[in-house]
């Protein structure tokens, strides 16, 4: 079988035109694998078009945990000529290309690749006047080639079309025809399927939403923007069941201000967007920092700048969130690596936001957000809920018996807060610089000695929270041997292809490990010594300027000069990491993907 692959995983890629139902077909295949006891990781190569163009769906499935998109393609379904032309070169030896010679011309197939010419259109026309079910027929064909039990395939297709009873049975029959046809070719590659194990899968947008409600979030605000909209959709779909207030604002400015209002009132509130919307939220994020109102904002990154590539991935917003809004204020930046991480990131984000009364920014990206499903395991809903210092009883901390000492100077920079509705603790949350009781320093006191000193103290108090919260930030996770010749530094979703590249590199004899960062800012002090202990360092991330490497340089003084950077909108594949590490060891220039 395939030389390039170990035999415990396989990859499928479905390619077609938008409108051919590729997303739905991809979901069906992902579900079939997940109900056969396999782990999955997927990528949705879609476009900003409703019909036409070229879209594809990639599925990596394995008997043990898979992290990224695997190596090459074992089974390519090419429903259009473009799908064939775009992807045939990546098909592995021993793999297969499923196509229909009545619509697609096969050419130049790589050595050892099986060409499976299947009557997809003719079969589909048996069931409908238009060959709309050809994708379903193709699913049947590859299911047969992979030696899957048709019962699972039929069940999943049946469920997928449950809302369209008139075509439900026809689709199952069309898939069965494809399955029967595949028998001519036999089973080309199969894994150990365990039909008694069903594994849940989701993308990070859903996982984050789930983690948020698990942590008591019942307020979500958004303005439609890819690839963050699935969070909105999930919250809206579950709003009645779980009592979630969903607010679709008139713009992102309204969205973030409403979220701040809800949080000020005492709710756990969150809002989400992508880069463009986040840009609009800038001023209000500084507002939350100044008024010391807890705030959780999600940026599901896509390639920019400006409108950029709305359905393509990037990690290019780190610099923006590091510097968002004017002047200095404390903020926390977390970038979950996977849907599994995203679930647990949400409760942490709320806890940090509330305990330290500051903005927490969660960076997801299209690759693991809207664009990629992955298996999640044993989600623990018993998440800690830590709301920090909230007082409900009036004490001595009152000015003239009227104003609560909301901005009290404290050791750790965190002042107790209270919630509107609490008797005898009224205060005004202030965006103007203020004293401990929330009185303006900006007007009649501005420039007076006492006010100047208070400005220093309040500014220092806010900034002190960075040191306090840093103690709760997590160190990067080490993958691979403790000592290595080369340590890869990576963050967020880029950690996954790196993790999948490591075994391949070890096989080839390279001593490599990786440090996967989720908590990007503030960095723990220990990060500096961890990096300095490494023999050599290489940075892998998805932006042009090595934004995280530069943050590390700024915060620790450690300069990482070896880099693999990708900024063309496509996700990083493990093979690219393998090749760039090889180049580093062979003292060649790392071939940056976009220049290849």
């Amino acid at each position: 079988m395939s030389k390039d692959l170990n035999n415990s995983d396989l990859t499928v890629r479905l390619g077609a035109a938008a409108g051919d139902g590729i997303q739905s077909a991809g979901e069906i295949v992902t579900k079939v694998f997940s109900r056969s006891g396999l782990y999955v990781s997927t990528y949705n190569g879609n476009q900003s078009v409703i019909r036409g163009g070229h879209v594809w769906f990639h599925i990596h499935a394995g008997e043990s945990r898979v992290y990224s998109l695997g190596y090459g393609i074992d089974f390519l379904v090419a429903l259009t000529q473009q799908a064939y032309d775009e992807h045939y070169q990546n098909v592995n030896e021993g793999g297969a290309i499923v196509y229909d010679s009545s619509t697609v011309k096969a050419h130049d197939a790589p050595v050892g690749v099986n060409l499976v010419d299947a009557p997809l259109v003719k079969t589909a026309l048996k069931y409908d006047k238009r060959p709309i079910m050809k994708n379903t027929v193709a699913i049947g064909v590859i299911a047969g080639l992979m030696g899957l039990d048709f019962k699972v395939v039929g069940d999943v297709i049946g469920e997928q079309f449950a809302r369209k009873p008139d075509v439900q049975k026809l689709n199952v029959e069309a898939a069965r025809d494809g399955y029967e046809f595949s028998k001519k070719f036999g089973v080309l590659k199969s894994l150990h399927y365990d039909y008694s194990v069903k594994r849940p899968f989701m993308h990070a947008d859903y996982a984050l939403a789930l983690g948020a409600v698990a942590a008591g979030c019942r307020f979500y605000a958004a303005y439609p923007m890819s690839p963050a909209s699935p969070i909105l959709h999930w919250m809206a779909a579950n709003s009645k069941k779980l009592g979630i207030r969903v607010f679709l604002g008139e713009d992102e400015i309204s969205v973030v201000n409403a979220t701040i209002g809800a949080s000020f009132a005492g709710a756990r509130a969150m809002c989400g967007t992508s880069g463009g919307g986040f840009s609009l939220m800038q001023e209000a994020i500084g507002q939350a920092a100044m008024t010391e109102t807890p705030l959780v904002v999600v940026d599901v990154m896509r390639a920019g700048p400006s409108t950029g590539l709305p359905t393509k991935t990037a990690q290019g917003d780190l610099n923006m969130v590091l510097g968002i809004s004017h002047d200095d204020f404390p903020r926390v930046i977390i970038a979950p690596r996977s849907p599994q991480d995203a679930f647990y990131t949400a409760p942490r984000a709320f806890n940090l936001a509330e305990k330290y009364q500051l903005p927490v920014i969660i960076l997801l990206d299209f690759a693991i957000g809207d664009g990629g499903y992955a298996t999640v395991e044993n989600l623990d809903f018993n998440v800690p809920i830590e709301r920090g210092k909230i007082v409900f009883e009036a004490g001595s901390d009152m000015h003239n018996g009227v104003w609560f000492r909301r901005y009290k100077l404290t050791e750790d920079g965190v002042s107790p807060r209270t919630l509107p509705g609490t008797p005898n603790l009224t205060f005004v949350a202030k965006t103007d610089e203020h004293d401990e009781w929330g009185h303006d320093l900006s007007d009649v006191l501005a420039g007076l000695k006492e006010a100047v000193r208070m400005r220093e103290l309040q500014h220092e108090k806010r900034m002190k929270k960075l040191e306090s919260v840093a103690k709760e930030m997590r160190l990067p996770e080490l993958y691979g041997p403790e000592r290595a010749d080369l340590t890869i530094v990576t963050w967020g979703s880029s950690a996954l292809p790196v993790r999948e590249a490591l075994p391949k590199l070890w096989e080839k004899g390279y001593k490599v490990n990786s440090l996967e960062f989720q908590d990007l800012f503030p960095l723990r002090k220990e990060v500096e010594s961890m990096l300095k202990e490494a023999n050599d360092l290489m940075d892998v991330e998805a932006n042009y300027t090595a934004q995280f490497a530069k943050l590390i340089r700024r915060e620790t003084g450690v300069l990482i000069q070896k880099r693999y950077l990708k900024y063309n909108g496509e996700p990083i594949y493990p093979i690219e990491v393998v090749k760039s590490v090889e180049a580093v060891f062979n003292e060649k220039e790392v071939k940056q993907y976009a220049k290849s």
């Binding site: 409600v213 000020f264 509107p420």
Partner: protein, 263 residues
């Protein structure tokens, strides 16, 4: 204006802790610091979305926005139109002085044609925004205009706004004595709608009155309680505890039901 708001809240006997005042930036927006209630002194133009978030999170609170014409008819007008359209149960009091006062006197969206300001030294040549007729067109369910020179009447309008089912706009003419003192002019041209036989349930008549140029009508232009507020609709739809009380983990049954979506 401050006196009118205080007297309105006192007359309605709303306890201070139940009131949240969200304000923007400008001379008008320091108001929360002068009244015993919870306050959020936010960004220029954004107090309305903050107020909406507060009300959605905790519907028990009386949520009032106090801001200026720069805040609400300029930089933040988008929020006003949509808050009116959705009929959020928040009360918007705009201290309209027809000038950007705090920034030392530039033309605002409600500055009159011919008005001399620092940004229009030869007089403004742009027609002002008519917030009342615009909001009537946007589907506002309560539109009124008061005058800071008549705090008793203004207090009455604020009380009616607070009692209203949904979004209420009270445009409060509040002349800036430094940059655009029109107290005398307003006094000469104003009249009360309630003395003129105006029927506030008549939308067309309200639009006509809102477009009067020679005279300055004060009072309630339009009021309808036929449309439920956004918050009423949401709680009918969701029927659960408000977000402020819901900060807790999911029940076993809820976990089962949400996870079932992912197999």
């Amino acid at each position: 204006m401050l006196a009118a708001l205080k007297s309105a809240l006192a007359t309605l006997e709303i306890p201070p802790e139940k009131v949240v005042i969200s304000s923007g930036i400008g001379c008008s927006s320091n108001l929360p610091g002068y009244i015993r209630a919870y306050g959020h002194h936010g960004l220029h133009g954004r107090p309305l979305p903050v107020a909406i978030g507060i009300k959605l999170a905790n519907p028990e609170l009386v949520v009032i926005v106090t801001a200026g014409d720069g805040d609400e008819y300029g930089i933040g007008f988008n929020h006003v139109v949509h808050a009116a359209r959705r009929n959020h149960d928040v009360k918007l009091i705009v201290m309209n002085n027809e000038v950007y006062g705090l920034t030392t006197g530039q033309a605002s969206p409600t500055s009159k044609v011919g008005q001399k300001t620092k940004s229009t030294p030869d007089g403004s040549f742009i027609y002002p925004l008519n917030p009342l007729s615009t909001l009537l067109g946007a589907g506002a369910t309560f539109v009124a205009r008061g005058f800071s020179g008549d705090p008793k009447h203004l207090s009455f309008l604020i009380q009616e706004a607070i009692k209203h089912r949904g979004f209420a706009l009270v445009d409060a003419i509040s002349p800036c004595v430094t940059w655009h003192d029109i107290y005398d002019e307003v006094r000469q041209r104003m009249y009360k709608l309630e003395d003129s036989g105006h029927d506030p349930s008549d939308l067309l008549s309200a639009i006509k009155r809102a477009n009067e140029i020679e005279k300055i009508p004060l009072g309630i232009f339009y009021r309808t309680e036929e449309r439920p507020s956004f918050e009423e609709l949401v709680s009918q739809e969701i029927g659960r505890e408000p977000p402020v009380q819901a900060v807790k983990r999911l029940s076993e049954q809820q976990i089962k039901s949400v996870m079932a979506q992912f197999y």
